[in-house]
Symmetry: C2
């Protein structure tokens, strides 16, 4: 029987299963899943049959009994459960979608209870055609038009913690529904045809019984053609995914829990298709379960990124928020703090005393260190070197009150060394291209209310070494690498 | 009237036209092309109206007169011509396709006669939807699903020599048919509605009047959705084109007139989508006018490339041929000679005398040079250096007959210097990874029928310098760069 060979070839070609592997098979009792059960059994896999009685139709109990009986004839375990729809269907979800999710959750539960990491379903080539067509009518890029994958991780959208990887395989994806039906006849199994297949109010069934026959009047080979488009698009999606993975480190960084940061300039240099894919990837990492991210949302986000305007905000999707900081655009969960591990940042807004000598810890393992040095050693060293703004030396005598660190506040000004006049600290930070959230936590070393050092950037002229200086206070900003 | 603004915005956004530019507008007399004419006129472009009377329907002559009259009211030149279908419709082409090509050829002709390089047509957003849908039903990758481009070169498929670049622009591609009709009413022009629009036997019109309304019952916004898919796919196609251009020099080289050579190993390392696109690009460079290259043809070619077997051949499309040479796969016109400008190759199969001293020209500006040197200078130089196989020195005394160059022939053997025993020349070339077509034209230096040097690879032990050598014959292979 060449269905066996065809399924075996497909499993081999797509590397779906190892010989004799244990798996859970979702069996509804229709021709596709019965064909799946029979083929997997014949090909020597160890099957656990799983059937969820949706109780949406009167005959569903009988179907459950039927599946149980068939499993017995194969001598394999069958796990049957009933689904209580009342408990889970909220407003705004279609019963189809909710039932589908419940079914997958059930399959995952059966797999976990039996220590199995593989689930097989009976999706056929015709299901594939319908899926692709549905995505086409709904509007989709390559990842929608490729349809269902032969093998995919269930973790993301069923919401399984990442520790157990559960994989869904579709061994019949290259087999037509006509073939599964013929196979059932040949092995003398009478499928319980799911009557909802004939109910044209469901989109998928309308496609199956109404639209596809019409499309076949335009092109008799349209099913084949749509499957081919799926294969081409799978290749495209793979290509784009490769490129996204390739460019990701250069273009995007994590900015803390629930935060990603996009580097504007290199992002805008990418081709549009890659910009779209990168944004979708960012969204998908923040919102694993969000399935349909609209085209317009992505286009609006790209448009948002192209127009720099500091501090501008815009809603993205799923409550995610975009914030523009000129050089960078932040994508984040509402109110998630944005982290800058590569910049000196205060741990809290609190003012803290800096002892001399002494050291004070900043965020992400940065440190600020204060020492006292005789003037000679300071003069001899590279401490005055303007190109090393991480170290400053100030006149000990000018320090009349204990030093402290604190964030900036409105009205803060400094008279920077080597510049005429005074400047607002906030302007100084902006001029140095420090992103706004990082400015809010930028450490200032103060002497009383007098700003001595905008850490790592500029020290005040008022504290500079002079002819009368005997000893210097040396302040040293150390990054995490200095500590290693 | 905001159609003007919308069209102006689209022209600006897609950079279709320069202000006041001269162009040829194809005007059928239907609402779309009248709207085009009116908008382009209002926006200040210098228009030449072109109308081809297809003579496919009785009322076509009246339409031609109508277009002439409208052009007059705008005070612009109109070029009207009649098409004699009998002369050009061959068997196997649809009248639609032939008429379409004739129309574009006519537009190009009008453009050339008037020294204009731009042609505008009235394709609307609805035409775009139909085109994309048609491609979807026929099976297409991103470049098909993106639909018509706002701007495209006409040279390739109309078959214009590359010297004059003629560009086709579609300023109404973002305007719906409903809008063009409303526009015509607003400016009080009564379009001649092309009655073939109502003829449902033509695929496009069946799509328009039958299929799209059905699709709208699935998704009322389906037109919008399909246009969006087109935009996404345009981005994908652009991305892939960038990658193809990027990888091309590494993966493909010209191998002469009508020949491209694909480097197998790096080709197979590319993602499938890129392999497909690279092959399509090779095909399109060899067959400019070939429009629909089937999916299966490309898949078969990729499969062919994956399985190395020296000298194997396979038909591609449009009479193109694939030949496998293990490291390289050749795509060529039937019988086109394969060139290897980077290898020493004979100009002809003829045996030619090599004078001493003297030089002989090889293909692609390579040269072979013979000189006589006293032994001292030879010994002192680097001529004996095995790592420079482009120069060999042989004992003058051993040359008992004049030297000649010729290609290899069956049975040729050599006893290579530094190796025990003799080896077939053909095996030596194979071992050195010389592709088969290059082997057939590989120069051998012979002394009578005794092979002295497989040029650039191995010399014979029988002619080596020895204790009794007084003078040496030095043979030098020079590549084109040596000559500069």
């Amino acid at each position: 029987m060449d269905t066996y060979q065809q399924v075996a070839d497909f499993i081999h070609q797509e590397r779906l299963l190892q010989p004799g592997q244990r798996l859970v098979a979702g069996v509804s009792g229709g021709p596709d899943s019965l064909c799946l059960l029979d083929c997997l059994n014949r090909l020597g896999y160890q099957i656990i049959v799983a059937h969820l009685d949706h109780q949406l139709r009167p005959e569903s109990a009988e179907e459950a009994t039927f599946v149980q009986r068939v499993a017995q004839t194969y001598g394999v375990l069958a796990v049957i459960d009933r689904w209580d729809k009342g408990a889970t269907v909220g407003p705004g979800s279609s019963i189809e979608e909710v039932a589908r999710l419940a079914r997958y959750r059930f399959l995952v539960q059966v797999a976990k209870e039996n220590g199995v990491e593989l689930i097989a379903t009976g999706h056929t080539a015709d299901d594939q055609v319908e899926t692709i067509l549905m995505h086409f009518l709904r509007g989709a890029g390559p990842s929608g038009l490729r349809g269902m994958l032969p093998s995919t991780s269930l973790n993301s959208w069923v919401g399984i913690p990442d520790s157990t990887e559960i994989t869904l395989v579709r061994p019949l994806l290259d087999t037509t529904r006509e073939q599964t039906q013929a196979h059932c006849i040949a092995i003398d199994l009478e499928p319980r045809l799911d009557p909802s297949n004939l109910d044209q109010t469901y989109t998928r069934n309308r496609l199956r019984h109404h639209l596809i026959p019409i499309l076949e009047s335009y092109n008799p080979g349209v099913r084949q053609v749509i499957r081919r488009t799926g294969r081409v698009m799978a290749g495209e999606a793979e290509l784009v995914a490769t490129l996204v993975a390739d460019r990701w480190p250069e273009l995007v960084r994590r900015g803390g829990e629930g935060v990603f940061v996009i580097r504007v300039k290199p992002f805008l240099e990418q081709p549009t298709a890659l910009q779209r894919a990168l944004l979708r990837e960012v969204i998908s990492r923040l919102r694993r379960t969000l399935r349909d991210v609209g085209f317009e949302a992505v286009e609006r986000a790209i448009h948002f990124i192209t127009i720099p305007q500091r501090g501008r905000r815009q809603a993205l999707v799923g409550e995610l928020e975009l914030i523009h900081f000129s050089d960078e655009v932040v994508v984040r969960e509402p109110d998630a703090p944005i982290e800058y591990p590569n910049l000196p940042q205060l741990i809290s807004d609190r003012r803290r005393r800096l002892s001399i000598p002494g050291r004070i810890r900043l965020a992400y393992d940065w440190y600020l260190e204060a020492t006292i040095e005789p003037l000679n050693s300071v003069r001899r060293g590279e401490l005055m070197n303007e190109s090393s703004p991480r170290v400053v030396a100030v006149d000990e005598i000018s320090i009349d009150t204990p030093l402290a660190i604190r964030p900036g506040k409105p009205g803060d000004r400094i008279r920077p060394l080597g510049m005429g006049g005074s400047i607002k600290v906030s302007d100084l930070l902006i001029n140095q291209h420090i992103p706004q959230p990082a400015r809010a936590r930028w450490p200032l070393v103060v002497c009383g209310e007098h700003i001595l050092w905008v850490v790592g950037l500029r020290m005040s002229n008022d504290f500079r070494l002079n002819n009368k200086t005997k000893r210097a206070i040396v302040l040293h900003l150390r990054d995490p690498k200095d500590e290693e």
